[in-house]
């Protein structure tokens, strides 16, 4: 009896010592609750180049375009892009019509249907600056006017002048030269 009492007391004492030992640091550094990143995430929206889904994909196919992996977009959507481009732009109305990149309707929509942004790791990154073509997309690039010119401007950017420039050429706030580059919110 007595021996048992001593045993249990000793065990309790040791256990409580261990407990205290373990929780000694808890007052200073509470153990962080692990952040949960588990689960499966399914695609909802995607984007490579600006305005591609908006301009070239027919209304009933816009959701489908957003859940088609880029490697399968050309096979699935190029002919739709070509049909919509010809319907949209008088600059591609006649056989043999090309844009300033020297691309006819099939070649141009073949480029655009795979909606990825091509980015150079070796130098200037710009959508188009007169010299470099599709080497990235910088904040100040007037991507809409570039696209309008390539859609409506014809072989030398001179066709359909009222359709090939929206005459909004810069952002409403100046960008920053340093990270995070985007202007502070309004």
């Amino acid at each position: 009896m007595k021996i048992n009492f001593i045993k249990y007391t000793a065990i309790l004492a040791i256990t409580s010592l261990i407990m205290v030992g373990c929780s000694n640091n808890d007052n200073n550094e509470p153990t962080p609750i692990p952040v949960d990143f588990s689960g499966t995430f399914m695609q909802k929206d995607q984007m490579g180049r600006p305005a591609v889904n908006t301009v070239f994909v027919s209304a009933s196919s816009k959701d489908e375009f957003n859940v088609t992996v880029p490697s399968e977009q050309n096979a699935k959507f190029q002919s739709m892009f070509e049909t919509n481009l010809k319907a949209l732009s008088p600059a591609f109305a006649n056989p043999g019509d090309k844009n300033a990149l020297g691309l006819d309707a099939a070649a141009f929509t073949g480029l655009l249907a795979t909606d990825v942004l091509n980015v150079s790791l070796d130098g200037k990154t710009t959508f188009f600056d007169g010299t470099n073509v599709l080497t990235g997309r910088a904040l100040a690039d007037d991507v809409i006017t570039v696209e309008l010119l390539l859609i409506f401007g014809g072989e030398d950017f001179s066709e359909n002048p009222t359709l090939s420039d929206d005459n909004v050429s810069a952002n409403d706030k100046p960008f920053l030269t340093s990270f995070p580059y985007l202007a502070s919110p309004w």
């Binding site: 949960d36 990143f37 588990s38 689960g39 499966t40 995430f41 399914m42 695609q43 909802k44 929206d45 995607q46 984007m47 490579g48 600006p50 305005a51 889904n53 908006t54 816009k62 959701d63 957003n66 992996v69 880029p70 490697s71 795979t114 909606d115 990825v116 942004l117 091509n118 980015v119 790791l121 070796d122 130098g123 200037k124 990154t125 710009t126 080497t135 990235g136 997309r137 910088a138 904040l139 991507v143 809409i144 009222t162 420039d165 929206d166 005459n167 909004v168 050429s169 952002n171 409403d172 706030k173 340093s178 990270f179 995070p180 580059y181 985007l182 202007a183 502070s184 919110p185 309004w186």
Partner: protein, 216 residues
């Protein structure tokens, strides 16, 4: 009188409808107006030319009055996809997801599977930055060689989208000069991450795109 009012109403509704689509702002029915709606994507050389900067914007057309209430969704994974061998399949991803007002970044790393379904590999390089609150200066973090930002910013996109809609709708013959920036004075929620080029292919050309993925 009544007729003209109805007509005016119809025109206004039509214009609002047209204003809703742009770079990728509200581009498709399933994504539009949700916390997973991508408005824009940028990739450009950093101030330090050894680095590349990725920008993903979501939840566009926020007025200044509604910006403070806008939040990143903990169920929405924003995934930057990087194809280094020109087959338009991602070889590397950078995943961004918020937890308790912190934006966590995983990668760049090679995902176990490619395509429409993703999970987060918690063994991948993990970095984080506190989400910047509306009205305070940008909070920037540097970790694992990357710079990171997450929070509200001015929408960097500019376009006379309203006029474009009228042209497409057949109610205007061409653009005005000067045009009017439909996105003037509006904000977006931005995720900006700057990474060493050496971690995403080093040299040559990459193909890149951004995805939002929703937890099932």
């Amino acid at each position: 009188m009544k007729k003209s009012k109805i007509l005016l109403g119809t025109v206004i509704i039509a214009i609002i409808g047209l204003i809703t689509v742009a770079a990728d702002h509200i581009d498709a029915p399933a994504a539009q107006g949700t916390t997973a709606d991508i408005t824009d994507f940028y990739a450009f050389q950093g101030e330090d030319t050894n680095n590349l900067v990725f920008v993903a914007n979501v939840q566009g057309l926020l007025s200044p009055g509604s910006t403070a209430a806008a939040q990143f969704d903990e169920n929405v994974l924003v995934e930057f996809n990087i194809d280094t061998n020109n087959d338009n399949v991602e070889d590397l991803v950078i995943q961004a997801i918020p937890r308790d007002n912190t934006m966590y970044f995983f990668g760049p790393y090679a995902p176990g599977t490619t395509g429409l379904s993703s999970s987060i590999n918690e063994m991948a390089t993990k970095s984080s930055v506190p989400v910047t609150t509306y009205g305070v200066p940008a909070v920037v973090a540097t970790e694992n060689g990357m710079k990171m930002f997450a929070g509200p910013r001015d929408d960097p996109f500019f376009m006379d989208f309203a006029r474009y809609g009228q042209i497409i709708g057949g109610t205007a013959p061409g653009f005005n000069n000067p045009g009017s920036d439909t996105f003037k004075g509006t904000n977006v929620l931005s995720i900006v991450v700057e990474v060493p080029k050496s971690e995403i292919g080093g040299s040559g050309t990459i193909n890149t795109w951004v995805e939002t993925k929703v937890k099932q």
